[in-house]
């Protein structure tokens, strides 16, 4: 039995400890937002946050997440209460087929958490493990940079108020 925190709630599973986290989340906990693309950590469609760190989960055995915080796209924001990146993603019509976008958004959210003011090169470096076969890169990159700018402007305004 392995226990961990999934989107803020304690869960436990008797899946084999070598089972990759992606399949436990999808098949056992029925959260389908995280996707399978390569099974080899090469495409980023399965990206989740483990204790705030973006990680590929298609090869990550659940034994390694015991006791840790796992956040999926479903835990980042919902249709009714979106994360600022999700709102911006919709505003810019970023997705085409949409299959990679959960992973893209999770990778981007982790980037902005650790680096609120990334350069274009920082975005490239952080996002280059996330493949988009439809080629939405122009929009993904532009949207991350614009959300970062909005956050900075918002934070500056808050500081001024205080």
């Amino acid at each position: 039995m392995i226990e961990f925190i999934l989107n803020g709630k304690p869960v436990s599973t008797d899946d084999d400890p070598t089972t990759p986290l992606l399949w436990v989340v999808r098949d056992t906990f029925k959260l389908k937002g995280s996707k399978f693309g390569c099974g080899a950590g090469l495409c980023g469609a399965c990206t989740m946050h483990i204790d705030d760190e973006a990680m590929r989960t298609c090869m990550l055995p659940i034994s390694t997440v015991a006791g840790r915080q796992v956040t999926t796209i479903e835990g980042l924001g919902t249709l009714e209460d979106m994360h600022p990146l999700q709102t911006a993603w919709v505003d810019a019509s970023v997705p085409q087929c949409g299959y990679c976008q959960s992973g893209q958004i999770m990778a981007a959210a982790s980037l902005l958490k650790h680096n609120p003011n990334p350069t274009a090169a920082d975005v490239d470096a952080a996002m280059s493990g996330n493949i988009c076969r439809c080629g939405c890169y122009v929009r993904i990159k532009g949207t991350i940079l614009s959300v970062a700018q909005q956050n900075l402007a918002y934070n500056a305004a808050q500081e001024q108020k205080a």
Binding site: A40, S93, C134
Partner: protein, 732 residues
């Protein structure tokens, strides 16, 4: 012109075969009276196959085409919504089930591809919207006791004297009235939604992980299946020892199926782990002896020795070549490619009480229904086929081997089955963009006029291979012998009698010359082939534009001015090139960067691209691409932009990396480490310029792709002096 050289359009009409996506247009007569696959809401009103309106003013649109990222749900809802006066954001958009009313008007069957959807449905869905609006206006006139002439409509409401009434209020009366059949359509000037760049209707679902793809389907008691297949296409299973895998946790069944051996387990990972323990042995087939170098050698030999079949023969090429001041002759190569959509192939099949359900993201859900019927023996009327979002397709999801597999497993295991391919399966057991060897010999005068164009292509043909996949699906009652006969016949026809147009399209059409020949030599190696984004254009543009650059150089002309001179007979392409030239003249590339240009017409859309490129050592870097497109009315300009951006990236992956190597009949590449996809850090900026020529819309899913490889190759020549004539581009 040869008697067997039918034009493409004639050919399509005759046989109903189309390029770009799905195939076969047999009219499914008798189906139109059958029940619509629509779940009726409480007091819901269904005026036609595309709409359901509920008393609380819910407007449901049943989208007849498949959403693979090209924005078709937004585009088609815009067409019907424009005339109905309902904004797409206010509709509930559902994927249509199987019914002939949902046929693609261009294909005569339910299929999505060939950049056809907006073109094919442009007038049809607007007419349906207008007729439904007319019906609602008539019902409102009756209920409100006013004449129809005082009624206007806006955003899902009837408006009378400034007062608004939701459409839903009139559905009961509307149901008792006859709908008009030819209600007047708006003029272009009256459009409120067409031409506006509003958000995609699927953006929110796709940004929150809530969009449902085939892989996400989860039904009670669902088991998971993983298949081991021969690495060599067409090789049957010889033997397999099942004992170890069968004893592994969660495994319930191990089943021999037509494509190999399937492991069924309670969970995917259990099936996957157990399948890895199998060591199946496979029969040898002719392909088992074939390597990439053999394919190339066979193509080379055919190019030198076979005249092939005549596709086009206009004017007098010999005289044209004799009249030329300069003659250029060169060969171009393009390899086999996999589509690699990010969602691997999958299907869910449930068979219960003599009925079946199938869920899969396909480019033609009717084919999934047909395959389940054929391989389960359940009549088509009892097979419910459910569409989902497609996690990319690019032509790949017209071939539904995975639906056959899921059906065979569901039947044999007597369990609902979710069958999923791995990425390795996708790259090694797929259906491929054919490899092509192309030769063009052309003549040019010193004044820049092209005097002759002699083109030849060697390679496999898509159409018979696709027939092989589609016929069992679309004609589930037809026996295998008949299908084999018809497929064999089509292979013979295309090998010896007439050219499969998809094999040569784009090789010769764009530029003016009175003297042209196009020949084709079919060489097959039993490698499964199908449509791949932009089909024949994906490789012919590379040869056609490459030769054009060389002709311009011989004539001492600027390559863009040369193309302008030679597109007098092709005014829309000429205009696109002219606009591109203005953009190019204004560009000032930084030191070490070079501009390459290419233009191409495909799927009735004209595109020119300018690539800004640097070459450092052996690395080709594309910094910026400017794309000029004329696709008639841009129904949603932002989606047109997105499709051009995406096609540039897709085309760059092929131009810079795409290659599959055949080793003893098996493709060596297996995943994204050795079949790389362009990454964000390698992606250029893309600027899209849309020319609105105001004519009816033409395709945008594919036409952005063909110009990119030749545009980059042209820039590489500027940078290095090397003419690269093989894809992927590699600096010598």
């Amino acid at each position: 012109m040869s008697a067997i050289n039918m034009s493409r359009r004639q050919f399509l009409k005759t046989t109903g075969i189309v390029g770009g996506g799905l195939v076969i247009g047999f009219s499914m007569t008798g189906c139109s009276s059958s029940e619509l696959p629509i779940t009726l809401a409480q007091q819901g009103f269904v005026p036609n196959a595309f709409l359901q309106i509920t008393p609380d003013n819910g407007i449901r649109f049943y989208c007849p085409r498949d959403e693979m990222g090209q924005g078709v749900t937004t585009g088609l809802s815009t067409l019907i919504g424009e005339e109905l006066d309902v904004h797409p954001k206010d509709m509930e958009i559902l994927f249509a089930g199987v019914h002939s009313d949902y046929n693609n008007p261009d294909f005569g069957v339910q299929g999505t591809g060939g950049s056809s959807s907006l073109k094919a449905h442009y007038l049809q869905l607007r007419q349906v919207g207008a007729n439904t609006r007319g019906l609602l206006v008539a019902a409102a006139a009756q209920d409100l006791g006013v004449t129809a002439s005082v009624i206007s409509t806006r955003d899902g409401h009837i408006v009378v004297a400034g007062k608004q009434y939701p459409y839903g209020q009139f559905v009961q009366t509307a149901a008792s009235l006859e709908a008009p059949t030819e209600a007047a359509l708006k003029s272009n000037a009256e459009f409120r939604y067409i031409g506006q760049a509003f958000q995609r209707v699927d953006a929110a679902a796709k940004s929150t992980g809530t969009a449902e793809f085939g892989i996400d389907i989860d039904i009670p008691n669902m088991h998971h299946a993983v298949v081991r297949r021969s690495p060599v296409a067409g090789a049957k299973l010889k033997s397999v020892d099942k004992s170890v895998a069968l004893s592994m946790p969660g495994v319930t069944d191990i089943i021999e199926i037509s494509s190999g051996v399937a492991v069924v387990a309670k969970k995917y990972w259990q099936a996957k782990t157990a399948a890895a323990k199998l060591s199946p042995l496979w029969e040898e087939v002719a392909l088992s002896q074939v390597n990439s170098r053999d394919v190339r050698a066979d193509y080379n030999q055919a190019m030198q020795q076979d005249e092939g079949v005549v596709d086009t023969d206009e004017g007098d090429v010999k005289a044209g070549l004799a009249a030329a001041d300069h003659i250029i002759e060169a060969e171009y190569w393009a390899p086999f490619l996999a589509h690699a959509p990010l969602e691997p192939m999958n299907a869910v099949v449930r068979i219960e009480n003599g009925e079946a359900d199938v869920w899969s993201g396909t480019q033609g859900i009717v084919a999934a229904q047909g395959l389940v019927s054929r391989f389960s023996g359940i009549p088509v009327e009892k097979v419910r086929a459910h569409s989902t979002y497609l996690g990319g397709a690019f032509g790949r999801r017209g071939t539904l081997t995975h639906v056959i597999e899921a059906t065979e497993v569901a039947v044999a295991s007597n369990k609902p089955v979710h069958l999923l391919w791995s990425r390795e399966d996708d790259i090694q057991n797929g259906v491929y963009r054919p490899a092509s060897l192309m030769k063009i010999k052309a003549g040019v005068k010193n004044d820049g006029s092209i005097t002759a164009w002699q083109a030849k292509r060697v390679g496999g043909n898509i159409t018979p291979k696709t027939l092989q996949n589609m016929m069992p699906a679309l004609f589930p009652g037809l026996n295998e012998g008949t299908i084999d006969f018809m497929v064999g016949l089509s292979q013979d026809i295309f090998a010896g009698w007439m050219v499969d147009h998809a094999s040569v399209e784009g090789l010769y059409e764009d530029y003016d010359t009175d003297n042209k020949t196009v020949n084709h030599v079919t060489v097959e190696h039993d490698i499964p082939l199908t449509f791949w984004r932009s089909v024949g254009h994906s490789y012919t543009s590379f040869a056609k534009e490459g030769i054009t650059d060389e002709l311009a150089e011989k004539a001492g002309m600027d390559p863009v001015a040369f193309r302008l001179k030679n597109t007098q007979g092709n005014p829309r392409l000429n205009n696109v090139i002219r606009v591109a030239q203005q953009h190019m003249l204004a560009m000032q590339p930084a030191e070490g960067r070079f501009l390459g240009f290419a233009a191409h017409n495909s799927f009735a859309t004209d595109v020119a691209e300018i690539a800004e490129v640097s070459v450092i050592g052996k690395t080709i870097r594309v910094h910026k691409v400017t794309c000029i497109v004329d696709c008639g009315i841009a129904v949603n300009p932002d989606i047109v932009r997105g499709q051009m951006e995406g096609a540039v990236m897709f085309g760059l992956t092929a131009a810079l990396y795409g290659d599959l190597e055949l080793v003893q009949g098996a493709f060596k590449q297996s995943n994204f480490h050795d079949y790389p996809i362009l990454k964000m850090s390698e992606a250029p900026q893309v600027e899209v310029v849309i020319i609105n020529s105001g004519t009816a819309p033409t395709g945008v899913g594919e036409p952005g792709l063909p110009p990119i490889a030749p545009a980059v190759a042209s820039a590489v020549y500027q940078a290095t002096g090397q003419r690269l004539r093989s894809l992927p581009l590699k600096i010598a």
